[in-house]
């Protein structure tokens, strides 16, 4: 059972990583334009000849 001494910190660390990612995404306006982002990924920037 000593393994949980490592596993719990690892689990918490991964969770914290996720939280950090979430905080970053909120603070860098990632949720401001949900509709636009959905369309932008489909936008092909190559111009036809």
């Amino acid at each position: 059972m000593e393994i949980i001494v490592y596993l719990i910190p690892v689990a918490l660390g991964l969770g914290a990583l996720g939280l950090a990612g979430f905080l970053w995404s909120v603070n860098s306006d990632q949720y401001d334009d949900l509709d636009g982002a959905a369309h932008r990924i489909l936008d092909d920037e190559d111009k036809p000849l």
């Binding site: 939280l19 979430f22 401001d32 949900l34 636009g36 920037e45």
Partner: protein, 735 residues
């Protein structure tokens, strides 16, 4: 070739939105300078799909000097930053040439703070979710290892849970603690008081249990409670902000620039909010006044339909006051800006608005009533449980544990979600139909409506006259005079005839008409006396007379046409058994004609703004729940006074801000609003019923001491889920 021609069509390529018109004017006062970089934020209307995004961004990106362009499809904001001599109007022209409507956007203070609040709640929610997931991980181990797990291991897992929970409760729970504290300071209790109590006690008891090596710790339950409550709080905040932003956007359509005369008589273009009292303003022909002015020089005719409801233009002279919303029709005039002096119409209306707001603040929402019943119920139940267990001989520790478990399990997750979830779903539906709610609680008031009061001009009618009499060749000649005039009747003539030649030697006489020469012969188009007709028979609408050297005087008759869907909408409303009434500032004949067409028997003509307010007060005294629908400045007081109110998208911004919702579509939006509101109210009542039923089951289990942290976790999440799913049901049913 323009960009629009290149892409084949104007406006949204998906066809979701027709091309829209732009508000003209000068956009340079809205540019912000950051060093050499200039930036401008525009509100773009009509952009609905990914094609619009790339069309607009590519077109604006192609303007020389543009360094950054980003379009937000969700709220229609276009951010442009550029360097060099390019003018803001070039950028605006580029977007309008694509077929999109544009207006300048300036963020107001309340919007920025609402956005900060929403973001703070989102972050708190994220932090609570992180804590919940990790504590659950540990809790599931404890539940799963029951009987096998050693007490030391369990204590270690509880200790870790507590260490995660403490900072999270302080950080994410601050929204509730602060609100509860400020309510208690003022000597009353709100929903946040029992919430704060439950959070604090659950945590406190769990710490105690952990230290005493007890069986049950409620760290998971307290954080879960926090998470669900934050979801409700976040949805509520987002709904309020979106509603506010949508209304602000519509108001921005009128966010125009003003031509101010400097002391050396040069004209500068400034934002309306930069104008100070006493400034000299130049109002060009065709321009709408955005602030009240006192005319210093010039004579002209003005269209005051938005201010007074009167559909025909009026002649104005030096010394008279022009109110914001008035359109100057034919001659440029200069005037002195009045700002908000106490004797202005706007100040009177502001007072009426205030009276209405106070009345509305007293409205008690269903959720408020539920909380008023709920708070004493929960606290009393917990207290009785504690005392009863002590009296029955239980230890102090056991009695407290049971009481706290009761408090936790009855805590209002479902109650906190019941109203906001239903309101969010409903306002989303309305939003997609072009109806912008300004507050969530308005839905409850809409649901109670039994009497509707309408303004006429611009609400029931289009607000612009149309030619209704038929003519032959004279019409062509009259149109060539009319083409030189901005008078609404002239515009209506030209609308019927179309483009064509303009007569020569045109002279426009304010308040009288137009005269000009066609093929060497002189003609006049205007009022009866002016063209030389003495005996005039009465007409139920505005008229124009046309006469000339070889022409007998003939009469053109006009009507302010009804909105196209008016007949159907009124048939529907009558079927619903709702009281219908028209209150208009227009003449008796005009109002009667409209009332007859739509079959409304109660109508009042030539009523002043104060009369409208008085009438609404009478109706309220007769215990009627009135829905006021109106667009003009003269309706603003009545809109604020009514039980609920609606304004069309073209309304004055004062009227829009006095209303509970603004609709962009036709009159059928009224039926949609009423139906959706009634349905939302039903769903909300169901939700409160479900929350109550949940408590009926949970409370007996809790007070008898049978609740474990596992049961608490399952019960809380199940009740929240059920309430949410019930609200989402509105999206599945008939549309």
């Amino acid at each position: 070739m323009t960009e629009a021609a290149l892409s084949g069509s104007a406006g949204c390529p998906s066809g979701l939105e027709p091309p829209s018109q732009s508000v003209g004017g000068d956009y340079s006062p809205f540019v912000q300078n950051k060093g050499a970089l200039k930036s401008l934020t525009l509100s773009v209307r009509g952009a609905k799909c990914g094609g619009c995004l790339s069309k607009i961004e590519n077109a604006v990106g192609g303007v020389p000097g543009v360094e950054h362009v980003r379009m937000n499809l969700s709220n229609g904001k276009l951010n442009v930053a550029w360097q060099g001599a390019t003018s803001a109007n070039t950028i605006v022209d580029r977007v309008t040439s694509l077929g999109y409507g544009v207006s300048a956007y300036s963020e107001d203070g309340s919007e920025a703070s609402a956005k900060r609040e929403e973001r703070a709640l989102l972050i708190s929610m994220g932090v609570a979710a992180f804590a919940l997931a990790n504590i659950m991980l540990l809790s599931v181990s404890v539940w799963g290892g029951h009987g096998e797990m050693g007490s030391d291991t369990r204590m270690a897992l509880y200790a870790i849970s507590g260490l995660i929970a403490l900072p999270v409760l302080v950080f994410s729970g601050r929204h509730f603690f602060q609100s509860a504290w400020s309510a208690l300071k003022h000597g009353h209790a709100n929903m946040d008081v029992p919430i704060s109590l439950a959070l604090t006690l659950a945590f406190g008891v769990s710490v105690w249990e952990t230290l005493a090596a007890g069986d049950h710790a409620y760290f998971d339950a307290s954080v879960m409670l926090l998470f669900f409550l934050l979801i409700g709080r976040f949805l509520d905040a987002r709904l309020r902000r979106q509603a506010h932003a949508a209304a602000h956007d519509l108001a921005a359509l009128q966010n125009r620039s003003v031509n101010r005369l400097a002391s050396d008589d040069s004209v500068e273009s400034v934002r309306a909010d930069e104008v100070r009292r006493g400034d000299t303003i130049l109002l060009a022909a065709g321009e709408r006044a955005v602030i009240d002015i006192k005319i210093a020089a010039g004579t002209s005719t003005v269209d005051e339909s938005l201010v007074t409801g009167e559909s025909l233009p009026r002649l104005i002279q030096t010394g008279e006051t022009l109110y914001a919303g008035t359109v100057n029709l034919d001659q440029p005039i200069t005037g002195e800006a009045l700002g908000s002096t106490s004797d202005s119409l706007l100040a009177d209306i502001a007072q009426m608005l205030e009276a209405g707001e106070q009345k509305r603040a007293r409205y008690r929402q269903i959720a408020d009533k539920a909380v008023a019943l709920y708070v004493p119920f929960v606290n009393t139940t917990a207290a009785i449980t504690l005392i009863a267990w002590l009296l029955l001989g239980a230890g102090v520790r056991d009695a407290i544990m049971v009481a706290v478990a009761t408090l936790i399990i009855t805590c209002p997750c479902a109650l906190a979600l019941a109203a906001p979830v239903a309101q969010v779903v409903a306002s989303g539906r309305l939003f997609r139909k072009g109806i912008y709610l300004r507050s969530g609680d308005a839905l409850e008031r809409f649901a109670e409506i039994d009497h509707l009061v309408f303004d006429k001009t611009g609400t029931l009618t289009l607000g612009i006259p149309t030619l209704v009499s038929s003519h032959g060749a004279e019409l062509e000649k009259a149109a060539s005079l009319a083409r030189a005039s901005r008078h609404p009747l002239s515009r209506a003539l030209v609308e019927t005839v179309g483009a064509g030649p303009v007569a020569s030697e045109i002279k426009e006489m304010p308040g009288l008409g137009v005269e000009g020469v066609i093929d060497g012969k002189a003609y006049r188009l205007g009022s009866a006396e002016w063209v030389g007709v003495s005996a005039v028979q009465a007409s139920d609408g505005p008229t124009l007379w046309f006469a000339g050297d070889d022409q007998e005087a003939i009469q053109f008759r006009f009507r302010d046409q009804l909105q196209s869907d008016a007949a159907d909408v009124f048939a529907d409303l009558k079927q619903d058994g709702l009281g219908l009434e028209i209150l208009s500032g227009d003449t008796e004949q005009a109002v009667k004609a409209v009332a007859d067409q739509i079959g409304v028997s109660t109508w009042h003509a030539q009523v002043s703004p104060q009369d409208k307010v008085d009438r609404l007060r009478d109706l309220a005294a007769a215990d009627k729940k009135v829905l006021m629908v109106g667009d003009g400045l003269n309706d603003a007081g009545a809109l604020a006074m009514a039980h609920a109110s609606l304004a069309p998208g073209g309304a004055m911004d004062v009227s829009q801000s006095a209303s509970d919702a603004v609709y962009a579509g036709g009159l059928s939006s009224i039926v949609t609003v009423l139906n959706t509101a009634r349905r939302t109210k039903r769903v909300m009542l169901q939700n409160f019923g479900l929350a109550a039923a949940y408590n009926m089951i949970a409370v007996p289990i809790a007070v008898t001491g049978n609740v474990t942290p596992l049961i608490a976790a399952i019960a809380m999440s199940a009740s929240s889920l059920i309430v949410t799913l019930n609200a989402l049901r509105m999206n599945w049913g008939r549309s």
